[in-house]
Amino acid sequence: MKQHPALRVLYVIIPVLVSLAVTSALVIAVGESPFEVFEKLWEGAFRNTESVAGVVNFWIPLALACMGLIITFTAGLWNIGMEGQIMMGALFASWAARTIQLPPELLVPIELIIAALGGAFWGFVVGVLKTRFGVHEIFGGVGLNALVSVYAIYLISGPWRQPEGGNAQSTEPFPANALLNPMSDVFPVSLIALLITVAAILVVIWILRGTRWGLNLKATGKNPRSALLLGVPTTRSTLSAFMACGLLAGLAGAYRVLFTYDSLRPNVSGGIGFLALLVVLLVGIRPLWAPIIAFVFAAILAGSTRLRVSLQLDSSLAGVLQGTLVLVVLLFNGLRQRLTEARPASAAPAAHTSSTVSAPTSGSEGAAS
């Protein structure tokens, strides 16, 4: 179907404008000026190298999570357990940081591997619940998220509690040799993590574009029955997608405890798993776009910390802006499809062919079945 280029631009601009308008309305509702708010957001993200580093520090775990979710989305899975998989990575990394004593050049890689395994394990559990026991991944995921979060609170307030007088909201800071190091004072970002993230993006893109596994995932996601008949191991695809996603989530979790913070905290993932789901809903399964949108979202997130400091506004405005954008884009996509479909349907009575074509795209529906 051909589209006028101007139309295509419009399709991008309108959702952005609508979500800006909605957000502005909310800002006005609490008695602030939207312009000031957007200015502070920008300032919060890009006023100097340090604030840009702040953006990158959100971007690293977010991008890792997004790439993981692109794998599961390709396989047709709603991995809402992402948040828990990040937490699990953080837990495993914390355990390693607290118990293993080695020089940093050995310890840090070990911590990251252990964290990745932890995330993959939690992803595996979601996968087994789905493939072996028929529990839909949304509910398995929600349950597992809660379990790991309760367990983290238990660890923080129990076995890993700080000695008397310490902060009850986190464990003791990990020893310095267990932490990731910032590359410089003006740009405090972990170089290793940055490199790992870039590598992860490239690897996921390569997996989806150039490997049999990636193609199997796509086939499984689009039509598991046909995929099976074409020789694709569909159960294995599903399980491996969850595990790969968990692996990247685990790395994201490790980054949160080993760099963003220096200790384990109750809500250490900070909603990054859910935010990543939003990003992937927005970009579909186009892996190239995910890191870019993730960067925009990370900038909004980082910028919003400034709102509290300078305007005493709650930083949840970031979520409002991101959420509205995704919602409007979804609704707008639907509207667009309807508009483009309405035309040929009225010209020729070929409604039957179009309905068979659109049927498989609704394959991800059927949430709780």
Partner: protein
């Protein structure tokens, strides 16, 4: 009342499902609508009962023209249809389903409805406990419930779509008794859509035969099976010359296989397809042949008995294990099961390839070659759903392994025109010459007789083998398909 249909036409895409069909139906008659699968019977009945609009044509009751927008409108006009898979709600109780079937305006109390339900059920000897969940009923009972429900609505014309599929002989007797009583006593019009000659001969006063969307015959009963078969399938079967292929040893063996689903039992089935042999399965939809074919490829697991490949037991094996042994299954619904909508032809080619990474250039080249070789109208970049049915089927051929051991095919030429069908068979027979055995189903008896060395006829899960397909007569086949052994 009488119902008059005039010049009914209906298209689905490029398929002309009903062409200029006209007929008159009169009170007190039981009319059989006969035709093979795809002849347009179901479409016509759906139009008559308001489930689908006709593209053109008129329906009139007692001379008054009708315009149906929905099944409800048809019901109001007195026409009710019993679908092959009864349209009820599995989670309801019998009574709930019955009450939900009454018009919203009529406030039916539980007690009154129970009484009405019991009275109707008793009249025809139906067994319908009001508190039983619909999910626990047999197909036969669900049909009875639908009939009772439609009668309580006061329908004057009752359409039954393949009502004898999946019900017991006893239930069939009860059903037929009820239908006769409705026609003779209540003066109803009963339309029996069927491809079972036996049923039509046993029940109907008049038979209307459809073929290829056209009304090709209209005959007062009684008529002989032979006459009906001739009407249904066109001219007498012609005997075809088949290239002789030396048959080898069997690779795949089914021994004493028993299969069970909710609807179908196949007991102690044994089959040893030999290399180079083509075995056709004839039978009405849902007579057990689909189940057997799926069991051959590990998609259905036998309750007892053994499935083995070259002496290796494969019971409980997954399809992938069968595929590794060269046993390939192609389903009838190509885009639902077999091809993947949203993926390009190249991606399909790549998917069946080997190796951990994908060489897209090679895949595209291979796709290009296969497209040319199999004469597929499409490009490597086309997504599969953009292809027409015939081209999808050709491309499915292109996806088959070069040296399969056994090809298991559900309706390999479904929905294809004559040329495409012939082409598909050329390709299949080529593989047979290379030593593959072929198992296939087809609703087209001509196709079965033409290509098979051996024929297995299925009726309600029972099987009869015809060892030499070239000696079979259409009468014999028709009789077996209709369940007369």
């Amino acid at each position: 009342m009488d119902i008059q249909l005039t010049n009914i036409n209906k298209h689905f895409g490029s398929v002309h499902a009903n062409r200029d069909i006209s007929m008159t139906l009169k009170s007190g008659q039981i009319v059989g609508i006969l035709g093979e699968n795809g002849a347009g019977k179901s479409t016509l009945m759906k139009i008559l009962s308001g489930y689908q609009p006709a593209d053109s044509g008129h329906i009139a009751i007692d001379g008054t023209p009708l315009k149906f927008g929905s099944p409800l409108k048809a019901l109001e006009a007195g026409i009710g249809m019993l679908q092959q898979d009864p349209l009820d709600v599995a989670s309801f109780t019998v009574l709930e389903d019955f009450i939900y079937g009454q018009p919203p305006a009529r406030r039916t109390s539980g007690k009154a409805a129970t009484a009405l339900l019991r009275a109707q059920a008793e009249r025809f000897g139906f067994h319908l406990p009001p508190d039983a969940p619909v999910a626990s009923l047999s197909i036969g009972q669900r049909q009875q419930l639908e009939i009772v429900r439609l009668l309580a609505l006061g329908v004057k014309a009752l359409i039954l779509d393949e009502p004898t599929t999946g019900i017991s002989a006893e239930q069939k007797d009860i059903l037929f008794g009820a239908l006769r009583e409705l026609a003779t006593r209540d003066g109803m019009i009963v339309l029996l859509v069927s491809h079972k000659l036996e049923d039509v001969i046993a029940l109907c006063d008049e038979v209307i035969v459809l073929r290829g969307g056209r009304l090709v015959g209209d005959r007062q009963m009684p008529a002989t099976t032979h006459e009906l078969v001739t009407l249904m399938f066109g001219q007498q079967l012609t005997t075809h010359e088949r290239p002789k292929v030396a048959l080898g040893e069997p690779d795949l063996k089914l021994d004493n296989v028993t299969l069970r689903t909710r609807r179908m039992h196949v007991d102690h089935f044994t089959l040893h397809p030999r290399r180079g042999e083509v075995i056709g399965f004839a039978g009405l939809d849902g007579s057990g042949q689909e189940l057997i074919l799926r069991a051959c490829a590990g998609l259905e697991h036998p309750l007892s008995g053994t499935v083995s490949v070259r002496g290796k037991p494969m019971n409980g094996g997954r399809y992938r294990d069968f595929l590794a042994e060269g046993i390939v299954f192609c389903a009838a619904g190509r885009v639902e099961e077999g091809l993947i909508a949203g993926m390009t032809l190249t991606e399909h080619i790549a998917l069946i390839g080997q190796g951990a990474t994908i060489d897209w250039q090679a895949s595209q080249a291979r796709a290009d070659a296969q497209i040319k070789h199999y004469n597929v109208r499409g490009t490597p970049q086309s997504e599969i759903q953009q292809l027409s049915g015939g081209n999808q089927q050709r491309f499915l051929m292109a996806l088959l392994p070069d040296q399969p051991t056994v090809l298991v095919l559900e309706q390999p030429t479904r929905g294809l025109d004559v040329d495409s069908a012939r082409y598909i068979w050329e390709q299949l027979l080529l593989r047979r010459e290379q030593g593959a055995s072929i198992l296939f189903t087809s609703p087209d008896l001509d196709e079965v007789v033409q290509y098979s060395d051996r024929i297995v006829v299925c009726f309600a899960g029972r099987t009869t083998e015809i060892a030499d397909a070239s000696q079979v007569t259409i009468d014999e086949l028709g009789r077996l398909i209709g369940g007369a052994f």
